[in-house]
Structures are given as structure tokens and as C-alpha cells.
């Protein structure tokens, strides 16, 4: 049994994820890892450690099953834990090895963002009008870097409901002195004819190069494709979804009603009103011109090639996350 303390830490993280308080998808993985580290430190025996780590992995992943970075990060931690258990590593060393892994993953996430922003900023040229939607730490970094390089460009950002990320992006970019225009999501196609490029972040990249991103992203990509505006997606290879190699479909989570409408308003419209708010949608690979990874710019269809380069073979040998959780639990018996 996990302690009430652990339960309360985890439920706070889940609430923040579900209510879109953590806007960036890398941010979700980072917050999850930071909290996992705290929980690992709270553990007082091997049994406790295994229970805690598997509990956190299960709960947080099921709150955001689309986040490949979340799954991949937990997989790395669970592999370390499994290895430690199999090698009968003592409790103290086990904890410190896991904490080491977590801080490696956090460091990698930050370094990847840096590398991607360098490559991404190279694609920004003088006079660009870049259209974007939904909050992405990496995209923000690209803009910041391109501006620091003295490039003169403009950004259009869609409001990005639910969550209204666009208002936050606009505010932040304006404070960096980047010319920024805020528009409603409905105006994406209207302004696309003025844009020279579209930049988007990613929640996950599937085996066929399809990009899973916050809802509205695929609409932006579609409008860009129609207007022959190039679409760039910034994504660390940590966001590549291994599960999809084996045919797993990505399930789209939904946001709670209150993220777009309050109780009172709903009552006035009618008690029977239903509300549907998909949090994410899928951009088909043919609408993506390039994915900017920490290894460089690649075509979405070339993802298997990059995978092979990194892991030496394709498909990479990774256990499915659910199988891994069960295996770790079994080690205890």
C-alpha cells in the first residue's frame, strides 16, 4: 500500500495535468519526474520503493496516455529499477541509482530543448511571419533564440482553446519584444495567407510520422498545407512513441467541461447540453514538412531511420510499459 502522502502528491500532479495547468508537453514529463524523485526519496524499503514507483507510473501515465515522453521517461526509470532488483542492489544504492536516472532524464529534456532551439532558430529568416498555436516550451525557445540572433520576424498565435494558451504565449513574446498578434482559433485560415511558416510543438510522434499535438494543431497544419505554408514540428526523440511501432493506437484524452464553459452558463443554455473537448488531435505526416529533433531536421516519414541510428537497430528493443510495470512488480515476489 502506498502512503497517503504519496497519493496526495500524485493526485495533485494529475489534477494539474488534466486541467491543463501544465501547458507544455515536455513540462508534463518534467513535473512528473520531479515529483517521482520526491516520492522515491520518501520510500523506506525496497518493497515500498517498488510499490511507489509502479503506482506513480500507472497513475500518471493513465492521466496522459498520449504523452510519449512521459511513457519513455518512466520506462527508463522502471528499467533501472528492474535491473537493480535483478542484481540485488541494496536499497540505498537502488534509490540513488534511480535518482541519478531521473536527473539524467531531466537534464536530457533541457539539453534537447536547447539543441532543438538552435536548429529551429536557423530555420527562421528575416521577414518571416510565423503562425503558431498551443504552448510549447521548445517553440518559445526557438523564437527567443532567433530574436537574439537579430532576426526580424513576426508571430501570429491562435488563442488555443481550451486553456487559452495563446494569451500566455502572446504576453511572453511581447515581453521579449517580438512583434506578436493574437487571433481566435477560427481565424487560422483567414491569416494563413499572410504567414510564411507554421511552427508547432508535439505531445508524441507516432511510428508513421504522424504528430500528436494539442487540439487545433491539426487544423493549423491543414490550413498551412492548403496555403502551401511549411509546417515545422519541434520534438525531442524522447517523444517518439515506441508503442505505435507495434500498432498501438493513441487514445485521445478529453478535458473537463469547465475548461470552456461554467455551470451557470450551461444551465442557461439547457441542462441537456453535452460538451466535448478533445485535448489533442493528430496531424497526418503529409501535412508536416519537417520534424526538428535534437539530432537535426528530418522528414516525418524518416523516423524509423533516425530510430535505427540512435538505437542501432529497428525496431528498437523496448518492453511495453504495462508489461514492464508488471515485471517490476513480479521481481518483488
Amino acid at each position: 500500500m502506498v502512503s497517503p502522502n504519496v497519493v496526495s502528491i500524485v493526485s495533485k500532479v494529475i489534477k494539474d495535468i488534466k486541467e491543463w495547468n501544465i501547458r507544455s508537453s515536455s513540462g508534463v514529463a518534467e513535473v512528473a519526474l520531479e515529483n517521482l524523485a520526491e516520492i522515491v526519496k520518501l520510500s523506506n524499503s525496497v518493497k515500498d520503493l517498488v510499490e511507489n514507483v509502479t503506482y506513480v507510473a500507472n497513475e500518471i501515465i493513465s492521466s496522459r496516455p498520449t504523452s510519449a515522453m512521459l511513457i519513455n521517461s518512466f520506462r527508463e526509470v522502471l528499467l533501472t529499477l528492474k535491473h537493480n532488483l535483478e542484481e540485488n542492489v541494496d536499497f540505498k544504492s537502488n534509490v540513488s541509482l534511480i535518482l541519478e536516472k531521473i536527473s539524467y532524464l531531466l537534464r536530457k529534456s533541457r539539453e534537447d530543448t536547447e539543441k532543438i532551439s538552435i536548429i529551429g532558430a536557423n530555420r527562421v529568416v528575416h521577414g518571416d511571419i510565423i503562425i503558431t498555436a498551443t504552448y510549447s516550451k521548445t517553440i518559445m525557445k526557438i523564437f527567443e533564440r532567433a530574436y537574439a540572433q537579430g532576426k526580424k520576424f513576426e508571430v501570429y498565435v491562435a488563442e488555443s482553446r481550451p486553456g487559452d494558451d495563446g494569451k500566455i504565449i502572446a504576453s511572453k513574446l511581447s515581453k521579449m519584444n517580438i512583434p506578436i498578434t493574437l487571433i481566435v482559433d477560427s481565424a487560422m485560415r483567414y491569416f494563413m495567407k499572410d504567414a510564411t511558416k507554421a511552427f508547432l510543438g508535439a505531445e508524441a510522434v507516432a511510428a508513421n510520422g504522424a504528430v500528436i499535438s494539442k487540439v487545433g494543431s491539426s487544423l493549423l497544419a491543414l490550413a498551412a498545407h492548403e496555403a502551401r505554408v511549411r509546417v515545422f514540428v519541434a520534438s525531442s526523440t524522447l517523444k517518439f512513441s515506441y508503442e505505435t511501432i507495434f500498432g498501438e493506437l493513441i487514445k485521445i484524452p478529453h478535458a473537463p467541461e469547465r475548461t470552456i464553459i461554467d455551470e451557470e452558463t450551461k444551465r442557461k443554455i439547457g441542462e441537456k447540453l453535452k460538451v466535448e473537448i478533445p485535448l489533442l488531435d493528430i496531424i497526418p505526416p503529409e501535412y508536416v514538412d519537417a520534424i526538428i529533433t535534437e539530432y537535426g531536421v528530418i522528414a516525418p516519414q524518416a523516423i524509423p531511420i533516425l530510430m535505427k541510428q540512435i538505437y542501432g537497430k529497428w525496431p528498437p528493443e523496448f518492453p511495453d510499459i504495462q508489461t514492464l510495470i508488471n515485471e517490476v512488480k513480479k521481481c518483488l515476489q
Binding site: 481550451p162 481565424a187 453535452k274
Partner: protein
């Protein structure tokens, strides 16, 4: 000699201007009513020529209230051009002509929405899932007619940022007992794969069949085209714009940023530019058919409707004026 404009007429003009009277149909009917009242309360010299000058003055006043609404000039021209064409011999005859044609226009406008509902409903099949945008009485009329014929239908209504007109649509449909689901505008591409038909209204139909409607309509049309979902536009013939026949562009109104963000946001973020176009243009190739009270037409045949309904208006008003402008131009050089 100046003739006094009756108070009731000034009030109607004012109500249109300040948007107390809104919606294309209501604006058009109010303008026709204003002309009727003006004719009945005419207090000037008992000469036909004076009366025509007076009516022209009223027409000008009405036209100035909403320069972008196409139903308004169509209503005014419907009445005034018929007066001039009839070449009345006496003042009494002139007054009765205005009264007659004002009544005729009001009747035509009132029944048009109803007829569209009936004609359009035949295109809806049992079990259809329908997506609609903003609030259009013609589109609502189609859906309600289909539902009352016993067809089991479900409706997705977009929120329609910035002003949430989707709430009005949802309320109207719910009150008829129709199953309605509200979605954010960003989710239209995600939802499209579950949709069988899209039905929207129109603000203006141009001579080439392009439809000017609430911002976001062209996003939806694009997503519908991609998913091979049929796109219907419900539009009364007085929404067709005679001016576009001679190449006039439809002006897209940009509204206040305060519809999108609040004053506090603007104060805190003085460098954020907010652009808020009220309408966008859907190209004719994305529209399957326009449902008018006269019947279904392909959008590319809009010119036919314009010639049938407003042909001699186009001749009298636009072509003549156009010729005049040319003569003036030639005199200059």
C-alpha cells in the same frame, strides 16, 4: 427645401446602427418597414419628384447605418427601384407603391427562412450527425424541420469565439428537444470524422459563389472538404450581393480586441496586437450547395440568382453608375 424625416424612421436607423436590431433578416425587414413608415408619414410638397427625392434621402440614411450588411441595400433597393421603374403619375400612387413593395419584401423575407428549412431538411437523412457554426436562423430552420419530420439527428455546435453565438444555436436546438454537443472551434477537424453534414448560414454570397460568413466558417469548410463531408450553406436570396457582380469586394469588418481579451490583459500587455476579423471567405469549391428559398443551387451559379432577383437593379444602379464613372473618367483625360 428639406423634408423632415419621421421620428420612427430615425429610431429604426439608430437601432440598426447600434446593433439593437441584428441578424441579416431582421435588419432587412426593419429597413423595408422604415421605408413604409416614411412613405405613410410623408409631409412634403405634393409632387412625385419631391417624394422620390425624399425616399432617396431615407434610403441613404438607412444604407449608411451598416455599410457591410448586404441584406440592407437589397431590401432598400427592392423597394425603391420598383418605385422608380413604375414611374408613378401621382403622389398617392407613389406612396401606395412603396407601401406595397415594403410589405411584399417583408413577407418574402419572413417566409424565406421557413422555405429554406423545408427544402434543406430534405437533404438530411435519418441518423445524420450535423455540424453547425455560429448562429444562423436559416441553418437552425433546416435542422429543426428535419428533426420534426422524425429524423433522428445529432448536432455539434461550435462555441464560436469570440462572442459565443454557438450558445444561441445550442439553446434553440435544445428547446426543440434535439441532441446538441458544444465543442471548441479548435476541435472542428478532430470532430469532422464523426460528422455527416455541415450546415452554416451566410452573411453575404458573392457573384462567384464565395460565401462570406462568421470567422471560422472557412476553417470548417476546409476540414469538411478534407474529410469528404458535405458542406451546405443556407442563405436567403437577399444575402446575394449585387455589388460583387461589378467587381466590388466584400469588406471584412475587424472588431474590437475587447471581444477576445479583457481590458486588464490589454493594459498588462500593451505590445500584444489583437486582430479580430468578424468574417471570413469560403471559396465556392468548398461548398456543395447553397440552399435558398427558391431551391438548391451550386455556389458557382450564384450569378443566376443575382440576375433573376436583382438583374435590373444591377442594370439600373450599378451598371449605370459604373458608366457614369467611366464617362467622368474619360472627360478628365
Amino acid at each position: 427645401m428639406s423634408t423632415i424625416i419621421p421620428e420612427d424612421v430615425v429610431k429604426i436607423a439608430d437601432d440598426i446602427k447600434t446593433m439593437r436590431i441584428r441578424g441579416a433578416g431582421r435588419i432587412a425587414r426593419a429597413a423595408a418597414l422604415a421605408l413604409k413608415i416614411a412613405a405613410e408619414k410623408y409631409s412634403g410638397r405634393k409632387e412625385v419628384s419631391d417624394f422620390i427625392r425624399y425616399i432617396d434621402k431615407i434610403a441613404k440614411l438607412l444604407l449608411s447605418t451598416r455599410p457591410t450588411a448586404v441584406s440592407l441595400p437589397n431590401a432598400v433597393m427592392y423597394v425603391t427601384s420598383r418605385l422608380k421603374r413604375a414611374k408613378p403619375a401621382t403622389l398617392d400612387e407613389a406612396i401606395s407603391l412603396i407601401v406595397r413593395y415594403s410589405n411584399e419584401f417583408i413577407e418574402y423575407s419572413k417566409t424565406a427562412t421557413e422555405k429554406i428549412g423545408l427544402i434543406g431538411s430534405r437533404r438530411i437523412q435519418d441518423g445524420d450527425v450535423i455540424l453547425t457554426h455560429c448562429n444562423s436562423s436559416a441553418a437552425v430552420s433546416v435542422i429543426v424541420h428535419a428533426f420534426k419530420q422524425g429524423k433522428n439527428i445529432r448536432v455539434y455546435a461550435t462555441e464560436t469565439r469570440p462572442k459565443f453565438q454557438g450558445y444561441i444555436t445550442a439553446k434553440a436546438l435544445l428547446s426543440e428537444g434535439i441532441d446538441v454537443t458544444l465543442i471548441p472551434d479548435s476541435a472542428v477537424r478532430y470532430i469532422m470524422k464523426k460528422v455527416d453534414k455541415v450546415i452554416v448560414g451566410a452573411d453575404t454570397v458573392a457573384a462567384n459563389g464565395a460565401v462570406v460568413n462568421k470567422i471560422g466558417t472557412s476553417n470548417i469548410a476546409l476540414a469538411a472538404k478534407e474529410a469528404r463531408v458535405r458542406m451546405f450553406v443556407a442563405a436567403e436570396t437577399y444575402k446575394f450581393s449585387p455589388a460583387t457582380v461589378i467587381g466590388e469586394l466584400v469588406e471584412i469588418e475587424e472588431r474590437s480586441p475587447l471581444e477576445i481579451v479583457d481590458e486588464k490583459y490589454l493594459r498588462e500587455n500593451p505590445n500584444v496586437r489583437v486582430r479580430n476579423p468578424a468574417f471570413d471567405v469560403t471559396p465556392p469549391e468548398y461548398i456543395d450547395t447553397i440552399i435558398t428559398e427558391e431551391g438548391l443551387i451550386p455556389p458557382q451559379a450564384a450569378f443566376l440568382v443575382l440576375m433573376e432577383k436583382f438583374g435590373w437593379i444591377i442594370q439600373d444602379y450599378f451598371v449605370k453608375e459604373f458608366k457614369l464613372a467611366r464617362e467622368e473618367y474619360e472627360e478628365w483625360y
